[in-house]
């Protein structure tokens, strides 16, 4: 299992979305992609759902949202 982290907290839209979509192309069956943002990316959630991915979102005390993305089994 491999993991990749995209720290998009200091990037302007739509760069976080573009980086995430590009990384999803290379995501293996057991890999996990972690996206860090200061907001919940609601548009991304529906894209993930429609394209066979699942995610889990956790919020940190500093206001960071950690979105863990995997291929849906």
């Amino acid at each position: 299992m491999a993991g990749k982290v995209i720290d998009a907290r200091d990037l302007l839209p739509p760069e976080p979305l573009e980086l995430t979509l590009s990384a999803l192309d290379d995501l293996g069956a057991d890999d996990e992609l972690v996206l860090l943002l200061y907001r919940e990316p609601h548009p991304l959630y529906s894209i993930l759902r429609d394209n066979g991915f699942c995610h889990r979102t956790e919020s940190r005390a500093d206001g960071t949202f950690e979105i863990r993305i995997r291929r849906a089994s």
Binding site: R9, L12, P14, L21, R39, S46
Partner: protein, 426 residues
């Protein structure tokens, strides 16, 4: 994956764009109207031409842009999918555009026939818009400060429309209603209940996102829209029941304090932004927040002013709120929302869409922000020296024309790239 990007929540491109590209045109009309009316407009504050000018900017520019932006922001950012967005956009856009023109023509020319046409058009279209959008906002499972603020704002829009219809009806059809009390209550619901609450709710979302600032404090975001609506209700009751001047002044200061706190928190967040980007949107927001603080200062000294000075300070306060705060914020948001809408459209048609931030060249947007600031400076000083309305009106019209040009250029780039993508498709 990027080519397969699909925002099921994003409405068709024509839905928000028709509003966002029409708003600056009303700004141009407003500037030309100021030139036509000249200094007399300032000297006869409260007259019909002044009411016409006010509604050109509040209906034609502000309401137009806010309704269009809400149709884009609600589904994409909160999952609130609006029922039949094309129909809602057609009804609201036609109603606002035709209604604003008929209302301002009726007020400027003092023609009851135009007013009798404008009122039902505006009421029917805005009531339909408010009901459909509020239903979408109530149905979504999204939680948080933005969705709560948007719900309260659209509810306040419905109240604003009802009060405006009552005030206009009292004039146009001689309904037995107290116009003198209804008019300021209608204005308070429009400016604070609908306007400030909507700007706050959208700012919670777009300021941290596009200006890379920390988030608005959670307790502040939760309480501000609720306090604003509570204060507008209390202020309205005090006005309608003709409560003492002291009570009304105090409640008016509470409303202004809400604006001051919002502006101060936003300026503080801007100072703490993580990347020192100073683009046109940033400048417009800064102009807006400083204008709000200046308007609050004018509101604080108002109870002590009398006679002609009081009238002039009230006018400065109104100009700072409408042109300084709302038009500036909307201008800044247009430079983010329009490129975002176009980028979404291109993303569905091209493997690699151009950078969203290059659709409107930064130098042209910054030049327009300077024109707007010059227009605001002239108009805010016009109550002290009315001939300033001439450069103010000319600069405002020029600023809105440049805004329209900048947004239209971005649309042209989008159309050209879409056509090229279609041409190269196998």
């Amino acid at each position: 994956m990027a080519a397969a990007l699909s925002f099921e929540q994003a409405p068709p491109i024509s839905v928000p764009l028709r509003f966002l590209l029409t708003a600056p045109l009303f700004g141009i009309v407003f500037g030309v109207f100021l030139l036509w009316q000249g200094p007399e407009l300032v000297e006869t504050r409260g007259g019909f031409p002044a009411l016409a000018a006010t509604h050109l900017v509040t209906l034609g520019f502000m309401l137009q842009a806010m309704c269009g932006a809400l149709l884009q922001v609600s589904p994409v950012s909160t999952g609130a999918n609006v029922w039949r967005p094309r129909l809602v956009a057609w009804v609201a856009h036609t109603g606002i555009s035709a209604g604003a023109l008929a209302l301002t023509a009726g007020l400027a020319a003092e023609r009851l026939g135009w007013l009798r046409l404008a009122v039902p058009v505006l009421v029917a279209s805005m009531a339909f818009y408010a009901v459909v959008v509020l239903a979408a906002l109530l149905r979504t499972s999204a939680r948080g400060a933005t969705i709560a603020a948007l719900r309260l704002a659209v509810g306040a829009l419905a109240v604003t429309v009802a009060l405006g219809a009552a005030a206009a009806g009292a004039f146009a059809w001689s309904w037995p209603l107290p116009v003198a009390q209804l008019a300021p209550v209608h204005a308070a619901w429009a400016v604070f209940g609908w306007g400030l609450t909507l700007v706050a709710g959208v700012s919670y979302l777009v300021v941290p996102m596009f200006q890379l600032t920390p988030a608005y404090p959670a307790a502040f975001s939760f309480w501000l829209p609720r306090v604003v609506i509570g204060a507008v209700i209390a202020w309205s009751v005090a006005h309608m029941t003709e409560a003492g001047a002291g009570v009304r002044s105090m409640l008016g200061l509470v409303l202004l304090a809400c604006g001051a706190v919002f502006a101060s928190v936003t300026l503080r967040l801007q100072r703490r932004r993580r990347r020192k980007l100073t683009d046109a949107t940033f400048s417009f927001f800064r102009i807006a927040m400083i204008s709000m603080l200046a308007a609050v200062a004018a509101g604080v000294v108002l109870p002590w002013a009398e006679g002609g000075l009081r009238v002039r300070i009230e006018l400065v306060l109104g100009i700072l709120l409408l042109i300084g705060f709302f038009v500036s914020v909307i201008n800044g948001m247009l430079y983010r929302i329009v490129p975002f809408v176009l980028w979404l459209h291109l993303q569905k048609r091209m493997p690699i869409a151009p950078n969203m931030n290059q659709l409107v060249p930064g130098a042209r947007a910054s030049a327009q922000s300077r024109l707007h600031l010059a227009a605001l400076a002239c108009l805010a000083c016009a109550p002290a020296w009315p001939p300033l309305i001439y450069p103010g009106g000319a600069l405002f019209a020029a600023s809105c024309a440049m805004l329209e040009w900048n947004l239209a250029q971005a649309l042209r780039v989008c159309v050209r790239l879409s056509a090229a993508a279609r041409g190269s498709a196998p």
